[in-house]
Symmetry: C2
Amino acid sequence: MELLEERIRRDGVVKPGNVLKVDSFLNHQMDVDLFNEMGKEFKRRFAGCPINKILTIEASGIGIACIVAQHFHVPVVFAKKAKSINLDGEMYCTKIQSFTHKKIYDVIVAKKFLSPEDHILIIDDFLANGCAVDGLIDLIRSAGAVIEGVGIAVEKGFQRGGDIIRNKGIRLESLAIIESMDDQTGEIVFRS
Amino acid sequence: MELLEERIRRDGVVKPGNVLKVDSFLNHQMDVDLFNEMGKEFKRRFAGCPINKILTIEASGIGIACIVAQHFHVPVVFAKKAKSINLDGEMYCTKIQSFTHKKIYDVIVAKKFLSPEDHILIIDDFLANGCAVDGLIDLIRSAGAVIEGVGIAVEKGFQRGGDIIRNKGIRLESLAIIESMDDQTGEIVFRS
């Protein structure tokens, strides 16, 4: 998506260790007009899919997911990083490893919000090693719901997340895929 | 706001200990059409205020804030619950007590996203004891920015948060204010 790539080139900052900071428009300060253009593009790419719900994970996926949901006219459910695991059987639960924070989270969704009748689009801001999306896929499968696809704003194409999801036979649409970055020059190369 | 009160009456669940569960439309599953009506109402109430940015806090405030922001044509910044405190001076930092999770969080906003030129509307889903909003006010004041007001979806009128904010001379607009709840009968009384 040209508009997003331009914005990443303009406002993204490449840091050592293959870190891309996009906190001025994507995941700390959020440009809702840009999110709306992303919503239109996801709607175009997933046109005809019987999506009735969007699933994301707290925190930075929520804003994009809500704006995108307007284009599909469906509700959003966000998976929560659990403070304490509820063992009363009312939650689907999985574990997600965060490389950024070097810990493993228990992540939950209330069972009443995922059912075998649901056709789910997963939305998230970033895809790198794929752990978060993999956890959401696990939650959806626990519920017996259908995964219509995964929509990502920025995919780090040089990490394994994209391949993991595509190898499961799940449709993945990333609006910008970064092929390589150089923290010395600031250059960012996108997959065409 | 009649539409929100009706929805709380229909789908809210009163639990012992003055707990109101609105997770089917507000803070776990999210009804973005309802959020849009809330956005229109906040825009009506804060019409004429020179708001140029919306500030909220992760996680459940983010969805509402993003949808509301579309009606003001401004970006959203969300304060983050810090995993580790960054002491490099690039963050405004405050502490927020969570009664729900019985802990104190360090909460941060990057300094580059709050400045003395900013006129901020705070948006959050719930107001009870006021700790979260009070922390956001503290962050805004650290930056020397102007607080135009606070917009809340559901205020528990019988807890002290509303008074704390109003007593600071800050304009508070809550779309539904609960005067009392009864977990035996399920009855919810709204402030008129």
